[in-house]
Subunit: 197 residues, 2 copies
């Protein structure tokens, strides 16, 4: 079940380095791309940095609308994730956008009405924090999360719980060339006293 | 076996969002902390952003020396990773540094002679790219990789290969509270033609 995530827990959704689908909408056009490179930079307020090549159509829409959304894909979406990360939506030959072309179903986020992708395990809406220098020099866009949701079978009480019985809802972590690692094993670190380890 | 990683492959080492150990050295003092938040921002030249709280001792040493190193811990180092991410090396009561206190063995990187942590699966040395605004506003430090190495049983020809037979060399991905996901399963995305999926 999709449930709201408290904003002070929102950065946890990308704490472990998942690949994300970046969606944008402006003036009647919309787009989707995959981004392997993102990270939280703050818990409160929840802020995230994501690398979006300044030459992409996503970057144009993001800057024009001053907002963007993230959806976290699961293993069944590996083909789709690789695909939308490998083509531009700027001038598709068939005149459709990437959602129509690939049959990607979406629903609207509650605050910014940005498209979130069906079948993912977590979703965030962000307002861009304009940082022209970081955007130009490092393609690094900063945003503040204004809404977040997650599938409560895999993320609840502010924490991911990756188990065998919810393997279909695990996140993807891009290794290169469309190969994705899935964080299906979990180890618990202990705070040993110095000298006790 | 530890092998050099070509610089144009260095960003791949952190492409999938692993937790890293950040090490620093300046004027006879050294420190180590864990950072869950890092990402590549460029392949060529290889550049990485990492979040280092400006109040930390690591931040002081990093800015004073204009360089830092990363080591990628494996499951056997989960306790250590959680520990060094939970205490400051600024003023340890026993007067030792965190390496001595926790018995952390290191060896020197080849270019900057920064301490790399024994028993990890990959290592990078970086020169800081001074970006005072990003460092102040977002604790985000940019660096350019000047040397990288990896254990060739798990990273070779510029690519991670996570398999059952090298599970002891997989990376850690922090979920919160010392719980780490391990990317032990891999799925391969395919570039399906539009309409074929």
């Amino acid at each position: 079940m999709r449930q709201a995530v408290a904003l002070h827990h929102a950065s946890r959704l990308v704490n472990h380095g998942p690949t994300v689908l970046v969606t944008t909408r402006h003036a009647g056009r919309r787009n989707i791309m995959a981004a392997a490179w993102s990270m939280p930079v703050e818990f409160t307020p929840p802020r995230i940095a994501v690398v979006v090549d300044k030459k992409t159509f996503t970057s144009d829409l993001l800057k024009a609308s001053d907002c963007f959304a993230l959806s976290l894909p699961v293993p069944a979406l590996a083909d789709l994730t690789y695909r939308v990360g490998s083509e531009s939506g700027r001038d598709l030959a068939d005149g459709r956008d990437k959602f129509a072309r690939h049959g990607i179903a979406t629903f609207d986020g509650p605050v910014l009405q940005l498209p979130w992708v069906d079948g993912c395990c977590a979703w965030l809406e962000l307002r861009r924090i304009a940082e022209p220098h970081s955007e130009t020099a490092y393609d690094t866009v900063f945003g503040e999360v204004v809404s977040a949701q997650a599938d409560d079978r895999v993320f609840a009480q502010g924490r991911w719980s990756f188990r065998d019985d919810n393997a279909a809802l695990h996140t993807l972590h891009h290794l290169g060339g469309g190969s994705f690692a899935v964080p299906s094993r979990v180890v618990q670190g202990r705070l040993l006293e110095a000298g006790a380890s």
